[in-house]
């Protein structure tokens, strides 16, 4: 049988040792009615060759950036992944190990997580970071939950409407069954940033936190100074949520803006798009919230001979110890994706990460400028952006389908998520979009 190694003789010998004559006797106590109906009606097993063939056929029916030009971002980004990443994460020692509960034989994973935490502290400018969460959206939700825990007695949560719509959905899903919470959205202004007045109206002294995208869903780099000022005036926490982690290679980090929590999606840094998962959520915050943090944390310590070593720590926050009083229900996270990011960041390094971020900003700005200048399109928002921007395109759907015939996906129409933004297209340009692709995009959007 596939993957079960026993021969008939092995089975026989083992059954003899147990004192049984058939394997069915082992589960004879399972009620007969259940056993009788338990047969699985699926096809027979396949050989490796057949499995590969089936999966290749399915894969072939999906469009990839190899043949298509994609200008899609909106939470998942197509970036360069150095070959070091897969070489490391496909090593069995990393890929087939469990959560490092026995530190003596898990120093590889533990130290890698410790490095990951450090990298995220450095990148976000925050004091502490955890070992990662499921994705950016649930990380944002966990940030709000943590804010609620440390801001007892308050009830209002203010979300910028310029925060990724799926993130807002997930936050709302996570919160909707919890008592005493009020979720409020504040709109955006003509720069595409969160509307300062709307925020000011929404935030009061009972406000737990304000959640802002950085950059936000429209690609706009928000100036967090006024928001931070507003928050501190009301004793609310500022949560900066980043979907495009690469931007942190260039932008002033949330910590420097005075954010209390920085959370978001790490996929940009070394993880393939993979239809949006697996990636991972990053989560960093002020040290004073340490014991309220969700998720796993690795700490440095020494062994009985005084050597440096690493362990899972502060686990009294976690479900396996604290059960219903845990700071989160998370157990399995997205560790291997975090490792991919760690290797990615180590490979690019200080200068490489910045240069890659600069290239993104440069090509996106250049493309945007050309689309405005040559194709005569207009930017919907005036705010500064990183590698995504919103254009107004008349007859959007029609033009998109014409572009699709040329194998170009020019961006994401926003009306689906923002009914008020008809004929608006969110365009993302990264270092992976080749010169010819951009040429082609400009050309196709120019000719009418």
């Amino acid at each position: 049988m596939r993957y079960t190694p026993h021969t008939e003789a092995d089975r026989r010998q083992m059954l003899d040792a147990i004192g049984l004559s058939a394997i069915e006797e082992v589960f004879a106590h399972v009620p007969e009615e259940l056993r009788a109906r338990a047969r699985i009606r699926l096809a027979e097993g396949l050989s490796e060759v057949q499995v590969k063939k089936r999966l290749s056929a399915l894969a072939a029916r999906n469009a990839t950036p190899g043949e298509w030009s994609f200008f899609l971002g909106a939470g998942i980004y197509h970036h360069f992944i150095p070959s070091t990443v897969d070489a490391i994460i496909s090593r069995g020692e990393f890929a087939t190990s469990y959560t490092p509960y026995q530190p003596e034989v898990s120093q590889g994973t533990l130290q890698a997580i410790y490095e990951f935490q450090t990298l995220w502290c450095q990148l976000t400018g925050m004091e502490v970071a955890n070992a990662g969460l499921y994705d950016g959206a649930s990380a944002a939700a966990e940030a709000v939950l943590m804010a609620r825990r440390v801001q007892q007695g308050r009830r209002r949560i203010v979300l910028s409407r310029a925060l990724h719509p799926q993130y807002r959905s997930v936050i709302s899903t996570y919160l909707k069954n919890l008592p005493g919470v009020e979720l409020i959205e504040a709109g955006f202004d003509e720069t595409g940033a969160s509307d300062a007045e709307a925020l000011a109206r929404a935030v009061d002294d009972r406000t737990i936190c304000v959640v802002v995208g950085y950059p936000n869903f429209f690609g706009v780099i928000e100036d967090l100074a006024p928001v931070q000022e507003l928050c501190s005036r009301h004793g609310s926490l500022l949560i900066a949520v980043t979907t495009e982690a690469l931007s942190l290679g260039l932008l002033k980090p949330p910590g420097e803006w005075g954010a209390d929590i920085a959370a978001g999606e790490g996929q940009s840094l070394g993880v393939p798009m993979s239809l949006g998962g697996p990636g991972y959520g990053f989560f960093a915050c002020r040290k004073k919230f340490l014991r309220s943090m969700p998720g796993r944390v690795v700490g440095e310590t020494v062994d009985s001979e005084g050597r440096r070593g690493f362990v899972l720590t502060l686990s009294t926050r976690e479900q396996h110890i604290r059960r219903e009083k845990a700071t989160s229900n998370i157990c399995t996270n997205q560790n291997l994706c975090g490792l991919a990011s760690t290797v990615f960041m180590a490979t690019l390094g200080k200068s490489g990460l910045r240069r890659l971020a600069e290239i993104n900003a440069a090509v996106a700005h250049e493309t945007c400028a050309r689309l405005v200048r040559e194709a005569g399109l207009t930017r919907l928002f005036a705010g500064p952006f990183f590698n995504e921007f919103v254009l107004r395109v008349d007859d959007l759907e029609q033009r998109l389908s014409r572009l699709r015939a040329d194998k170009i996906i020019a961006g994401l129409p926003l009306a689906r998520w923002y009914p008020e933004l008809r004929d608006s297209l969110l365009v993302c340009v990264t270092e992976m979009n080749e010169r010819e692709e951009i040429e082609q995009l400009v050309k196709s959007l120019t000719r009418r």
Binding site: Y3, H6, M14, A17, I18, I23, V30, R37, A38, I40, L42, A43, L46, R54, L55, R61, N62, T64, G66, P82, T84, R91, G92, A95, T96, S97, Y98, Q102, E104, V105, G108, Y114, L123, A129, D135, A137, S169, K176, N177, L275, G277, P278, G299, E300, T301, D303, R307, G309, L314, H320, R323, E324, N329, T332, N333, S351, G352, L353, A361, V363
Partner: protein, 486 residues
Amino acid sequence: MIFERGSPGRTSFFWPERREAPAEIPSRLLRREIPGFPEVGELEVMRHYTTLSQRNYAIERQFYPLGSCTMKYNPRLNEAVARLPGFAQLHPLAPAELIQGALELMHELESMLAEISGMDAVTLQPAAGAQGELTGLMIIRAYLSQKGNPRKKVIVPDTAHGTNPASSTLCGYDVLQIGSNERGMIEPGELERLMTEEAAALMITNPNTLGIFDENIQKIATVVHAKGGLVYLDGANMNALMGIAKPGDMGVDVLHINLHKTFSTPHGGGGPGAGPVAVKETLAEFLPVPRVVKTETGFSLDEDLPLSVGRVRSFFGNFGILVRAYAYIISLGADGLEDVSRTALLNANYLRKRLEGHFHLAYSEPCMHECVFTDRLQQKYGVHTLDIAKRLLDYGFHPPTVYFPLVVAGALMIEPTETETRETLDAFAEAMIAIAREAKENPELVKNAPYTTPVRRLDEARAARRPVLRWEEPRRDGDERQEGKA
């Protein structure tokens, strides 16, 4: 430590084209350089992480009998197919007609999981078991709310995994704990007492974390249903059930499945996994959006489900993990999956038999895919479960899950899985027996273990007391950057 290697200005990034950040971004919004960020060459990266990897235990190195974790072989085939560009390079917001292969895979995986578990509808969105639990409980809550009353409590056995009560809290429920009887099962009488109209659901694990199949499961479900509640099954132990009993037949209304356990996607040192949720027909309309639906011409995405609990995660969940699980299921087929559970049971019972007498067995009930021993026989020599666990490391084995479930003092919870050979089980049993002997004859030897690991026992108290959670640049820069530091 990667930060202690390298040299200022070094990088492995090579990109001929040089671009400046556009002037349109005000410099006020830009960062200075990132202090302490790595500055190493590509070979240094490879060496650093290759060396680190060798400080890890892994299934591909040796036996990993962590109870409740189902550490089975993760086929390399699945790693290969998940890396096909037609899966790995998909953007989730591409129009549905450009991702038909992916949608078909998800649709088919949903049906296969439904068939295996005996349920009617499945969502693949949850990223792991715990998120599956939360999703499942939200579905229960939405269903009950629609019926008029979400109720207040969830009943959780004392043997349950910690995520069960934690997820209940997160879903706004109070946890009502129910004890297990001397057979390690739920006492239907006790349940009848606790199961009131306040209780939204019973969250049961079957076989439970003691490896015991609760024979009264159908009766239990009847009790819950009689009071208008629903039965949630923690399906982390599906590895015991394939072809043996379907949760759908047990009276279960909702369950989650850990693809990273039963369906063999690699654990990756703690994820990513995936925690699909399967429900009975009546609950299908509450599943998260979007749903993959089959149309006449192919597959499309339905976001428009008014009763849905909403989204629990961005996009489609951990798609790359779904690909692996799909490959696993079609590789094994019906026969193969049935053989998985039978063999998992055989291995667990064999190991149980071999260790009986040497270690105290927590329950004498027949076990399914795992069994729980304790340190009771060793305690008199001052040797505890932790010591036994650490000593096993010296024998080259990963220890079982320890001190869980909480109801068993000093638990050693052993799940061998079906992919282990008899010889490996024997070798493990012999190591355990040798340790039992050492505990008697030379307890100090065991209490100071391990001796042969890259580091010895680590001071966990110190780590928690004075948390150091990130590397910091040493005061005198440069001195610490030396070859030889791991």
